[in-house]
């Protein structure tokens, strides 16, 4: 083991000779070798083919992080595996989901964290077997361990965030409402969704194409029967104000004559079996091969294929099935069928039936299948199993790099199901195939800050739930809880009840309109906070304990700080008409009320029960903070960001950096200071407001709506001209 000091708060411990995953992005020029450094706090046991880390947890220790995983924000008591898995039933005991997120932070009397840069399987027993012990087993001996330590929890996490590189920036329209379903599988169905949205005045920016838009589930093809003249359709949709977002799967259909298949075979671009023959498995198209995304030339090739759809006018994609998901292999299914026949011969014996059941249940995504698939790694044929967790990351990196070449200066919407740390530089992710369960609203709330720590910023869950049937109330509460998630997408599965915002009764449609309009009104704030988090390698979602020191803030997992100024505390239980909240300092509660004026209320520090009817949405503005709004419209393109409203809650002095840019070009990259600084000084009974501008901004009017600690409200309208600020009304 070698040790390097990266900075006062980050050390690298290198075990053996690790595979370069490229998950982090920092300069390795000046790594300072440490003599005789040893890993703090963790006990290390290096075995022949695995490594065991042990950490003795103290009574007050909380264990945060691990990204996409079941359980609360604090993972103590859990057993979690990092092994990308396509499991569509997220019951509370599932140990592995789609992503592999090997970072965790221990928050107690002091704060520390680790990141394990290792592409194979890792298991985390966080006080599950022994209540006070964390046991991490790494399925190998070659890996990088990063150790972080700083004064506060936030600074400790930032020490990790700082190594992750600038985050992915989607186009601004990608913060609008997006409507999806498996499947709007004809041109007419898509048009119907679009028309319903507009007819019911439900703002919406994008409609999704799930697998059925393809011809035979072949990537980069269009089924011309169901989608005749696709290019024209994309144009028509753009005229109506919608983008179409097609899905791309990992597997390439085996079909002679299909270009992608033929090229992949010819150039040996596919993963193989041990003999070097292309590896075959069944997914949606039937038999497929999987591109070996570990090879740079394969990434380049696959990334360029997105051009087929970009040329039709497509501006966004979602990458799916890239764990990679395997329904079955020849070998697996044959073994199962043999067992079935045996079962018949043995007169349908119970023992055979149970064996049959086990065989069937393990047919999909079996470790054996991953072990028998091979990828090329630095010139060597390597079992896919050893680098399994990189697959979705590299597929999505291929897409991102391809799209950057295709679009030159243009941003694309891109997110993926499977992920590995580092993918946040290239794309977002969604939390996969959740269910229409109330419990999964809470799960989403738990996941958001955990994912942020790993640099995944453009994130969200399938609103309303993917599997199972949503009720109207579930959709409403889920939408309210997603009010500020960067990705705001309603998605549902084949065979489930329709759950578009207009699919229920009129009252539900009205409530959903109100939620969606609030979402759109908040886009200036959401975009500003998102972009700052991406550019400054900061967090967008934070647990209360990242900002507040009091004991109770450490406990709270169902309220989140969102950006610099807001706190959310959604209702997530069926039939509840309110919830308890912890308010660590004075906050301004903004509550929308159906058919009435919104309510604003100063909430004093402490525990409260907040009434919140199904039709009401709540948002909290922190003390000496402000949020920026503009008028909602039917889509983001139609919004006018020249006219802003600033909602501020001010005790003496508040300052806010409002970031904005053109929302579509790549020019944001070196310009994190872009935007305006709003400063509000409270002086006796008046406010002094100043605005500093940097970069090109087209803001004309700013309506400052200021509430003080006593709940007194002042409205000041300012006109911006030539970069300077003028009051519209006599001061």
């Amino acid at each position: 083991m070698k040790s390097y000091l990266l900075n006062p708060h980050a050390q690298l411990f290198r075990f053996g000779n690790p595979i370069e995953t490229e998950s982090l992005s920092y300069s390795r020029d000046r790594l300072e070798l440490q003599i005789e450094a040893s890993l703090p706090l963790f006990e290390v046991d290096c075995k022949t083919d695995e490594t065991v880390l042990r950490y003795k947890m103290n009574k007050g220790d909380r264990v945060l992080g691990l990204g996409e995983a079941m359980g609360g924000a604090d993972k103590r008591g859990r057993y979690i595996e990092a092994y990308a898995t396509d499991d569509p039933v997220h019951t509370p005991d599932k140990s592995a989901l789609y992503g592999a997120h090997n970072y965790l932070f221990i928050s107690g009397h002091s704060h520390c964290g680790i990141y394990l840069d290792f592409p194979g399987r890792i298991s985390y027993d966080i006080g599950f077997t022994h209540p006070d012990e964390m046991i991490i087993i790494i399925d190998g001996v070659d890996f990088d361990l990063y150790f972080f330590q700083n004064e506060t929890l936030l600074e400790t996490v930032q020490a990790f965030r700082n190594l992750q590189g600038v985050g992915y920036a989607p186009p601004k329209w990608a913060f609008g409402n997006q409507q999806s379903r498996w499947s709007y599988d004809t041109r007419n169905k898509i048009l119907e969704v679009a028309d319903n949205m507009r007819k019911k005045w439900l703002p919406c920016d994008a409609i999704y194409l799930d697998i059925d838009y393809m011809e035979g589930y072949k990537n980069f093809t269009i089924d011309s029967t169901r989608f005749p003249d696709f290019e024209d359709m994309v144009k028509e949709m753009r005229t109506k104000g919608f983008r179409l977002i097609p899905i791309i799967d990992a597997g390439v259909k085996i079909e002679p004559g299909y270009e992608v298949y033929e090229e992949g075979i010819e150039k040996e671009y596919f993963c193989t079996n041990i003999k070097g023959e292309p590896y075959k498995a069944a997914v949606w198209p039937g038999w497929v091969h999987f591109p070996d995304f570990q090879k740079p030339q394969v990434r380049k090739w696959f990334g360029e294929k997105y051009k087929n759809l970009v040329d039709f006018g497509i501006e966004g994609f979602w990458n799916d099935m890239n764990e990679p998901s395997i329904f079955y292999t020849c070998e697996g299914l044959k073994k199962f069928i043999e067992k079935a026949k045996e079962c018949e011969r043995k007169n349908l014996d119970l023992k055979d039936y149970f064996e049959l059941e086990t065989l069937f249940e393990t047919l999909s995504g079996s470790k054996e299948d991953y072990e028998s698939m091979y990828q090329m790694l630095e010139g060597h044929r390597t079992s896919h199993h050893k680098i399994h967790n990189l697959y979705g990351f590299n597929m999505t990196r291929a897409a991102a790099e391809g799209l950057q070449d295709i679009g030159s200066n243009k941003r694309f919407l891109l997110f993926s199901r499977s992920s590995f740390t580092g993918m946040g530089r290239y794309a977002g992710l969604w939390t996969g195939d959740n269910h229409s369960w109330w419990e999964h609203i809470l799960l989403m709330i738990y996941m958001m800050p955990s994912l942020n720590m790993g640099g995944f910023l453009y994130i969200g869950s399938d609103i309303g739930g993917f599997g199972g049937d949503a009720s109207a109330a579930l959709l409403i509460r889920w939408s309210q809880a997603s009010l500020l998630t960067p990705l705001f997408r309603n998605h549902s599965a084949l065979g489930t009840r329709n759950q578009e915002p207009y699919a229920f009764d009129d009252k539900t449609t009205d409530t959903m309109r109100k939620v969606l309009e609030l979402r759109y009104a908040l886009i200036p704030y959401i975009y500003s906070e998102y972009m700052k988090a991406a550019l400054k390698k900061d967090l967008y979602f934070k647990l209360l304990s990242f900002e507040y020191d009091d004991d109770h803030s450490k406990e709270v997992e169902d309220q989140l700080l969102v950006g610099d100024s807001a706190m959310m505390a959604p209702v997530y239980r069926e039939n509840d008409r309110g919830r308890y909240i912890w308010v660590p300092e004075e906050m301004l509660l903004w509550k929308t009320v159906m058919n009435h004026q919104d309510e604003f209320q100063v909430i004093r520090p402490g525990h409260h029960y907040m009434h919140l009817e199904l039709e009401e949405t709540a948002l909290f503005i922190r003390k000496n903070k402000m949020i920026v709004l503009s008028e909602p419209a039917q889509n983001v393109d139609l919004m006018n960001f020249s006219y802003l409203t600033v909602l501020a809650f001010v005790d003496h002095y508040a300052e806010y950096h409002y970031y904005d840019d053109d929302g579509i070009s790549m020019e944001y990259k070196d310009n994190e200071q872009q935007g305006m600084i709003f400063r509000i000084h409270q002086h006796e009974n008046a406010y002094k407001i100043s605005v500093d501008q940097k970069g090109n901004m087209d803001v004309k009017i700013i309506n400052f709506m200021i509430t003080n600690m006593q709940g007194e409200f002042t409205e000041i309208v300012y006109q911006v001209s030539d970069g300077s600020l003028q009051s519209k009304q006599p001061e």
Copy 2:
């Protein structure tokens, strides 16, 4: 439709010619026929072969009841089916579980309720399809509908409870801690559990025998290899202070020479196919027949079989697999195997694979199987499907009636997995195969009051969860939440982690000991409240809204009133160190603290955050109420109920009926007044206490520990001699 007035609060609406289920137990001698009565509030649509009931829900309406079902106490927004189902994965969207409980109560501006006495399938769409409409579909046209209405919610539910008959009374020892697992499958394993319990000073009254104690899963047999000299073993266990509780399954193994099978065939006691041949299905023993419990002579025959085990000294049973559970039938499995072969012929085609998957998933408990099974009903061969929901009820009735004959004046422990309204007269139930999920603690809390409404009183969930792996903290919190459930049993599945109270670390064992000792200390109160609820047809578990009128009490679903005097508000989320509580009036909080004196605190009305570490258990005593305790011991038989402690929280005057009896004989039946009445008058700064005694009681010393509204504590020790009361200390 005919209508009868049963009493001012209960009407019977008879549709067609219903099957007599015997679910209710009230005198039908004086049914008063109502001329031109129509069903209030519900719209009825009688179709050819089904009946649809519609009810327009108002904004504030809550829909309570429906017994064993997923979701909160308020079922609004849910879709629920009454069709007994052996589904071992209770995800939030499951519509049917093991029991069929066709009662619901609508609580809004006014209160009403219905009970549908119908043995077939019923579906309840409670605002799922249309947020404000309840649609009930009865799979038939012959049924009894009972309609209840009264001033308060409690009185409305009591109008239903009053028709249900006196509840099942288990022996007193059945309120002790019970330890189960699938499976302690040898004599040595049972002894090891018993020894561990005693060695670690963990009170325990019973250890369970799951299916492996039988020879080849044959009911009423003992595997003599694994359990040599069973009678001696039962005796040895009794000497150690444990009862053994064997399982009995519904299916009878097809095995020539096996007495139960041979008799059943000879006497035509089994359910048949349409041709009248015994119906064959596979369950644990392999191929079985199902006794036709609809026939009185079959019930008598099966009930008598329990004597085989009672003769060994057995005093309690659990009836399982009585939905009845079917793993597969010949026809089903053959169809599946044919499909598998076809899949092979078609070169493992994806479409065939999905069909195969569906076939496999529907192999167990398919409606088709139930439709092709037949039972005799009033001399007619009737499809089991039509009376499906009565199966477990009648099996358990068979057992209860058999045991009453066998034991004459003795009570047996008896509970069942499947159930129908009315079974609460004969036995208890457990909530089936839950999981080691934190969410299932909350589910248990929701289910308890819902089950009570239907007269199921001896109830509990598998503490620690049946499926999946429990953590130490989960077991502790689940045990705390079950502190007052009549059935207190830790049970877990084959292949899961051991979860006995001693199976974790020493600290967990210590905490569990403390929880168990508290449980035992509370047995006088638990038993008193249980027996009064059974005898007076009252409720043991109640939602707060049954006793408190304020608006917020209507919202609360995660706190329960237990008996007359107590409220529970357990912590049920992982890593939480406290929870919010709503206290509608002053209550006394009793909190156990590890290694310290217990804490008592007067809680003022309102919302509070209650700190409660993992090691702490909380119990609330209501105003002007008291609970009765005695010293815990290693089992109930060893407890001394002559020495009692009364914990009272008194403002002016409190009165309590302490019920007690011999705990084992049937003589309780006509003696609901049995016991003592404690009266505490607060007079200026002193208390005047009086005790009235009725029936044989052996109470010698009562230690009154009284707290007043100011939190001031007074202890008064009384000696009872010759039925009169004397102070032990100078007044």
